[in-house]
Structures are given as C-alpha cells and as structure tokens.
Symmetry: C2
Subunit: 205 residues, 2 copies
C-alpha cells in the first residue's frame, strides 16, 4: 500500500517546470515544422499540431497563446538551427573557401533542406504587412545579415565591398532558385546537375 508513492518503476521522472515547458515547446515547434513540410501552411491548425506533437491543446495554448506565437516559435527554431549549422559546422580553421566549397556548404546546410521550402512558404504567407510578416522578417534579417557577411568573408571579399556582396547575393539567388525548382520537380538529379553547372560557371568569374 505504501509502495506506490516512492518509486513506481514506470512513470514520473520529476522534471523541473523549465524542463516541462521546454519539452512541450520543442515538441510543438518540431510538429509545426514537420506539418509545414508534410501538409503545408494552409492545413495547419492548432488542433492538428497538438495531435501531431502528442500534446494536449491546453498545453499548446498555454505555451503559445496565439497561433502566430506558435508559428513564430517554430520559424525561430528553424532559423537558429541553420544559424548553428552554417558556417560553424565547417572546419573552423578554414579562413578561406573555394567557390565550390561555399556553394556546397550553403546547399547542404540550408537550401537542400525540405524545411527551407517550408520556411519560404511561411515567409510568403506573411509577406503582406501583417503582424506575422513583421516578426518573421525581424527574425530573418539578423540571421541573413550575419550569414551573408560570413559568406563574403569566406569567399575572400571585404565586408564593405559592394561587388563581393552582390556576388554572394547572386550565389544565394541561384541556390534559392534551384531549391524552388527542386520542390516542384520530382527528379532530384536535376538539382545537382544545375549546381555543378553553376559551379563551373562561377569558377570562371
């Protein structure tokens, strides 16, 4: 009779409140990003996400009072993962990158990701001047600015060199365009062929 209180072998690991919060927040964000990839922005509802995350709707609304709060948190999580993945996953001793290496790094860390398309879908849905749009833009710009500066430096340009910056923007645009192509075209080989062709052309310039 007294055995139940102390140490039931199955449940109750006794997490702190912070841990509990963080866990449901993570589950919700992860489910949101998955759902963005799998069913698309239009289909996302708080009910669906709660189910996918295996979290009660009450827990979800407690952590994210509004639907936008949920979307913003998910977006923020994804951006921070990209931020951590690039360029810090690169060999940190490399101060300089060949064009090929830069393209590969950007493609593998960011643009080839299914979730890049999901993020684009979110950004497009928020492209008008609504609340969501402004917040997402703010989250993006801080990352993008940093990402682009690092890319400029890695490719050997001066940070204030407008020409080098433009070149980096072109790199990013090319990869963005190829990523979009990939999301519509089922053939995954085409993307790699296009990247190879771009590498060849970029090397000359």
């Amino acid at each position: 009779m007294s055995a139940e209180a102390k140490s039931p072998p199955d449940a109750k690991p006794r997490r702190t409140q912070a841990e509990r919060s963080q866990e449901t927040r993570n589950k919700v964000c992860e489910a949101t990003l998955q759902a963005l990839v799998e069913v698309g922005y239009e289909q996302i509802s708080t009910t669906l996400i709660a189910q996918k995350a295996k979290v009660s709707r009450g827990a979800l609304t407690h952590q994210f009072p509004t639907r936008n709060d949920m979307l913003v948190a998910a977006f923020e999580k994804q951006v921070s993962e990209w931020r951590d993945g690039y360029p810090f996953k690169l060999d940190p001793e490399k101060e300089q990158l060949s064009v090929d290496e830069l393209i590969d790094a950007l493609w593998e860390n960011i643009f080839s990701d299914d979730r890049y398309i999901a993020a684009i879908e979110l950004m497009l849905a928020a492209r008008q001047d609504n609340d969501l749009g402004h917040v997402l833009r703010d989250i993006l710009v801080s990352w993008i600015r940093k990402r682009d500066r690092i890319a400029v430096r890695l490719v050997g340009g001066d940070v204030d060199d407008a020409e080098a910056d433009l070149k980096v923007q072109l790199h990013l645009s090319v990869l963005r365009g190829i990523a979009m192509h990939q999301s519509f075209d089922s053939d995954p080989l085409t993307a790699h062929k296009l990247i190879d062709l771009w590498k060849r052309i970029a090397r000359q310039a």
Copy 2:
C-alpha cells in the same frame, strides 16, 4: 408607361449568355489574382473574392462550384497570359536571341511580375499530393515544356541537347531566385543589379 420596355437609355445592353458567363468568370479570376498579390493565399475566401469582383456569391458559385475550381481558373488564366506574352511579344522574325535578350525577355514577361510570386504561393500551397496540386501541375507542365523548348531554340541549342536544356534551366533558376529575393527585399534596384551581374557572367559561358 409603355416607354420603359423598349429602350431605356441607361441599362441592359443585352449580352449573350456566353458573354455574361465570360465576364463574371473574368472578373472573378482577375479579383482572385489581385487578392493573391494583395492579401495572400491564406486570406482568400469565396466571399472576399465575390466582393472584390463585384459579383454576387451566387454568380461565383454558379461559375465555380468549388473554391478549387476558382483557384484553378485563376491560375490557368495567368499561365495563359504568360504563354501569350512570351515569346510571342518578341519580334517574331528573330530566330535567335542573345543571352542578354533572352534574360530580359524572361524577366520582363514572367519573373518580374508580382503575380509570379502569387503563382508560386499557389503552387507551394498545392505542392502536396492533393487535388489542387495535381491540376495545377498539369496546367504548368504543358506551358513550361513549351516555354523551355522555345528558350532552348532561341538561344541556339538543339531541342534534344541536354546541355543546352540544362543551361536554360539554370537561367530560369537564377531568375526564379532573384524574383524570390525581390519579394522579400524592398529595394527594387538589387534585382536589376543581380540580373546585370548574371548577364555578365552568362555571357562568358
């Protein structure tokens, strides 16, 4: 008293049924495309579109039984306009185009259009395997295949030349990426700078 039936000076031009249908269909499609640009896919409802098109909801549902029918028709209209605009607006006597001319033609006729982004938003919303997705894809592929073949020919390649086709795909990807960039970046000059840079690089290759 008998004057009213014959020729009231203001109204009733007596259109045919086909004309009446076509007019409301056009008004609805146009309003849908406008709304896609102005408020985005998420906000689109049949009620909103009926208001914007200045058409009763009954007329709308008569012409387009389902919301998807409406979206598909709008998409189809836009694609057919692109189809008519490119490359037939070009000087039809030109059998060959310089790289610069090809880039300009594609950019001005398709990618610089606000509605290109709207179409992308639609395609992304339909990218999963739902009904809308399949229909939109079918509409696209017939146009794209034609568009790309013409581009290959204009740039002097053989239609069956895989290398030439890949080059065209890269052109399209670059412009697609720049168009996406433009939809997020408020500065319209950047897009033109990127296109100029791309022209310079493409000319060499």
